[in-house]
Symmetry: C2
Subunit: 343 residues, 2 copies
DNA sequence: AATGTCATTCAAAGCGCTTTGAAAGCCTTT
DNA sequence: AAAGGCTTTCAAAGCGCTTTGAATGACATT
């Protein structure tokens, strides 16, 4: 059932039927009702591709997944973020498209997306320091918003980010207040912008209290469970092990906990742990009392906010870029305590 | 730059340029080269929507996410599965589209997808017992494959599944061999088909050894960490607590571990744990020696296999449905041991 | 009665591509 | 020299929709 057939059945022109269905005012109320009834009856809905070709809009939002950072996709954080965005897309009638790109081809991918008209806009995830994508997208004129920021990207662009520097600074201060001096940072990959900012906050807090940072206590990699475990085990074996650990995600914090327990130590007593908590649906930080003391910020919510921002930009691309900086809460759980008195 | 412009530049008809670019044989070799060079030079690539409209193929695969089972998307397992599928789509030039559907509207969503021509096929995830989607899709004639099976769906359809019954039977037997008799099952949601089969395997093993199943030791819910923790804590408080636990996923197993340790017990000694391990990228089951004894089957691999199967069906919808039953390995880790001798 | 206005409706062009059916040009065969 | 067969190219139709510009008819105004 297509528009032509429907209009023939109704004895109307395609124009009138199309207008009736799309809510244009210059259609007789009675006619409109007849058309709508017929559409329902014959189960008509317009062909997306044809509509898209005619209007120049695809009603689809793109997410480009590079093959290397394919890890991006398997990261549980990704799921919650994307689910947040998808909720908004759904409400507004947009679909979400993932384009899987072989490495280094990102620029070409965006160019293609624009030229082929596959999507109306894209969300940039996991921005690195000095991320090239921002310049490419600005140049292409393809509407986009960034989850996070990219230091040194130059352009003025739309983003939503957590105040990573401040939240990690506060977390570090919290540990310092408890008397800890040997504080380790199990960070994410440091070419990621967020990881840089977290480290900056951590270092800033140490500096203000006159604590000299120790390279041996600063680790950086993709935030898996095994990684959290491995680095913790490694650091606990040091002659001067940390008494507190800052972890970058719930997943690596789980590895941290495993290593601490394997070492026969008690979390929150022998070793304090603070993690960043993205409020992942499948990895809630406990039920009533949080398992981990944590800097908390919902990545699901961030997904919603970004999607809304992007749709606004698509509506009116001329609007000036928006920036939203979310503050993370510092919630106290059972994983932190005063520094153990040496004996 | 579109086809018309490109053909004007070249002094050729659109037909010839289109054919040259699409590898049709009836184009002079020299002409083809000229066309290809020009296309590269002017950075031409065909408009997806127009191509799609003309050919009737969208080169897109759909995944429908119901709002309720939106949890589906935030499930870390989902990420790995989808990444596996996305890899195949990428290689074959397909895109992946997520359609977010308000609840109960799934049937309409599929109907729309078909009628609007948005996708060439869909992957059905998380099939329930007697899943209605299979009948709908068969009726619509929209190519599809199922990740898992749906008992009682009647139709003959294509699927890839893990032998859940057998793997949970083996895991149970493994525990029985170690002398365990109080074996708990922390299952997934039991309207999910896979959970039913796992329970069947578990019960079968118990029955063959003459062990009477205990309802108090069988739990079922969405496989989060908190759930694993909660049920374990609850069961350990029983007057006759389990000495072994079967968990449905790494995530809930992590919660199980937490509860065991909180109770001051040692995993693998006081309580044995076996989990199903989907080989999630961010939640590897240890590095060399597995953390948990586990039934292991890569969900990433399943994603690849299903995607390939679907593309085959799209190529030739008349081909008879394929079915692949994957066997899970039973790998022994440090979470299982002989039943503690009562004292 | 002639003119102007408004509310409705329509025919046709256009979005950018693929594909059908025909034409043109050049060889080969008779 | 005419006919037939290849190879290569092309004009035009068609995919299903939106949208422009025009037409129609009813009604109010002069």
């Amino acid at each position: 059932m297509n528009l032509k057939q429907l209009s023939e059945i109704l004895g109307l022109s395609q124009t009138t039927v199309s207008r009736a269905l799309n809510g244009y005012p210059e259609v007789n109320a009675e006619t409109r009702e007849r058309v709508e009834a017929a559409a329902r009856k014959h189960n008509y809905s317009p062909n997306r591709r044809a509509t898209s070709l005619a209007t120049g809009r695809s009603m689809t939002i793109g997410h480009v997944i590079p093959a290397s950072t394919q890890h991006e996709m398997v990261n549980p954080i990704f799921g919650d973020f994307v689910a947040g965005a998808a909720g908004v897309y759904g409400e507004e009638g947009y679909d979400m498209l993932f384009s899987h790109v072989t490495d280094g081809d990102e620029e070409r991918a965006y160019t293609d997306l624009k030229r082929k008209g596959t999507v109306d806009g894209v969300i940039v995830q996991g921005p690195k320091v000095n991320d090239a994508r921002i310049e490419v997208l600005t140049r292409l004129g393809l509407p986009f918003v960034v989850h996070g920021r990219s230091s040194g990207a130059g352009q003025d662009y739309s983003w939503v980010d957590v105040n990573n520097r401040r939240s990690f600074k506060r977390a570090t201060e919290f540990l310092l207040d408890l008397g800890h001096r040997r504080i380790a940072l199990i960070n994410g990959l440091e070419d990621m912008d967020f990881a840089q900012r977290r480290r900056a906050g951590y270092l800033e807090a140490l500096a203000e209290r006159g604590v000299t940072p120790d390279q041996a206590l600063m680790r950086s990699a993709e935030m898996t469970e095994v990684y959290g475990h491995h680095e913790t085990r490694d650091m606990l074996a040091l002659s001067d092990p940390p008494t507190a650990i800052l972890a970058a995600s719930m997943i690596s914090a789980i590895g941290v906990r495993r290593a601490i327990e394997e070492a026969g130590l008690t979390i929150g007593k022998d070793v304090s742990v603070i993690t960043h908590d993205d409020e992942l649906s499948y990895l809630r930080n406990g039920q009533d009392v949080p398992i981990f003391t944590a800097t908390r910020s919902s990545v699901h919510q961030a997904g919603r906010v970004l999607a809304e921002m992007l749709l606004r930009r698509i509506e009116d691309p001329s609007v000036v870029p928006e920036q939203i900086l979310l503050e993370a809460e510092l919630v106290v759980g059972r994983s932190t305590g005063p520094v153990p008195t040496g004996d």
